[in-house]
Amino acid sequence: MRVLSRQQTQKVATFLITTVATLVVIPVLLIILMIFYNGMSAISWEFLTQPPRNGMTEGGIMPAILGTILLTLGTAVAAIPLGIGAAIYLAEYAGDNALTRTIRLAIVNLAGIPSIVYGLFGLGMFVLFFQFGTSILAGSLTLGLMTLPIVISTAEEAILSVPQAFRTVSYSVGATRWQTIRHQVLPNAMPGIITGIILGLSRAIGETAPILFTVAAFYLPNLPTSVFDQTMALPYHLYVISTQVPGMPLQVQYGTALVLLLFTLSLTFVATMIRSAMRRRREW
């Protein structure tokens, strides 16, 4: 015997699903609100543009902001060409053979490696073996490596979702394989590729573990002048001032967290904007 009618079951189900979905949003909102609430008062022109003073308890976090921007750029330079190249290879050139399957397996596994392992690998590989030292170069390469799986898999997906008919038409008017990729496939896959890049970057750039041994400095009196210099960076700075510096004003800690949060959120926002702008332009 039915206790509830079909419509009632439907309503209950909808209610439950909506509730669960909302529950997911609540912690995210709470974290953001808490950081905004506690950190807003720390944000000032001085905080954003001055180096720390007085054992980092006063002044600003400008060197850490600058460092994070530099590392973002460095990571992009390291991950984008390799990531897109690998995605093009996998989507357009690779046949279904043992080599390709191994590559795919490697990518899946790369994505699952804990970030501290990347940090240690970066230390062994870039800092020590290649003798880049603790440097922006070593840090960018480590972060780039970590970003690579996301870039490759989203870019490959974007490339594969370009309608096959565009390729066929391109070949039918005499285009070569590379011309077809360059002029039809990539432009149409670009929104997806860019989204993947930015999401990958925003994830990597908030990480502390990969930069711990490869680039990040506790405190530096001078700004970096080359890729072989160390730099301060927001996540590591946050870690330092929250755990290593006694008597650190809570406000400064929250202020730093807020800046880092805004940084990653704005990257995500930019990705969304680019995607919708390009979607609108290329309709099919």
Partner: protein, 252 residues
């Protein structure tokens, strides 16, 4: 007369064991409109895609026999397949504009061939649109997205896109599928003009269309050619029982 295309004992299978084409031999003469007709899955598109080597794109596939274009084996080693596809154009059943403007669609193949001279491009655009009977409708909106065109206009754009390369042969795989009767008759009428300049191999939308437009035709069934002949021989006095059944509408 020397045939434009000479298909000699061609067999093809898609690598799944089933034979899609069985020992096909056909000569296609310059400036004729040759129609390949037959029931669904009889291998018409398969044959058409061999003629400009679009079949190369298939991951597997086994071909036997020879196809001569102006006496040259198109599968011979050293054939410039990209040049071949510029000389043998193709229009597909589904109108498929490329993302971008009408102008960009028409000039894409030319640009890929390295032609950048704006005057040449403009002139080819105008001429190919005229030949495809689309010029009057789009001449003031060449910069508009090709996706803004109607279905019939899109298909004529695709025809113009292949004509812009000034090919020698045009392969038309059911170019009027999904078009309204008016668009269909516009395309059919332009065919008479086109064959003055080009050789046309066409898979028709229907038997009626085949009978209307063909100079000569071949009836295909299960990957084989049953009968080849001039329009009136094939549609009025078919020799083979199977052709007669199909032409008179008893199956298919």
């Amino acid at each position: 007369m020397v045939p434009k295309l000479s298909i000699q004992n061609v067999s093809f299978d898609y690598g799944d064991g089933a034979t899609a084409l069985r020992n096909i031999s056909l000569d296609i003469m310059p400036h004729e409109l040759f129609v390949l007709f037959g029931p669904s899955r009889s291998g018409k598109s398969t044959l058409l895609r061999l003629l400009n080597r679009l079949s190369d794109l298939l991951p597997v596939g086994q071909m036997h026999g020879r196809i001569l274009f102006d006496g040259q084996d198109i599968f011979a080693r050293g054939t410039d397949v990209f040049d071949l596809r510029r000389r043998i154009g193709m229009v597909f059943a589904t109108p498929t504009p490329l993302p971008g403007s009408i102008y960009e669609n028409l000039t894409y193949g030319l640009k890929m061939a390295g032609i950048k001279d704006r005057r040449v491009l403009d002139e080819r655009v105008a001429r190919s649109l005229q030949q495809a009977a689309l010029w009057e409708e789009v001449k003031d909106r060449l910069a508009d997205s090709a996706f803004a065109l109607s279905g019939g206009q899109k298909q004529r754009l695709c025809l113009a896109r292949s004509l812009a390369l000034e090919p020698e042969i045009v392969l038309l795989d059911n170019p009027t599928s999904g078009l309204d009767p008016i668009s269909t008759s516009i395309v059919e009428e332009s065919l008479y003009e086109l064959k003055q300049q080009y050789t046309i191999v066409m898979v028709p939308h229907s038997m009626q269309q085949a009978a209307r437009v063909a100079d000569r035709a071949a009836f295909m069934l299960d990957g084989e050619i049953v009968e080849v002949g001039a329009q009136k021989d094939l549609f009025v006095y078919p020799q083979d029982k199977r052709t007669e059944d199909y032409v008179s509408g008893r199956f298919g």
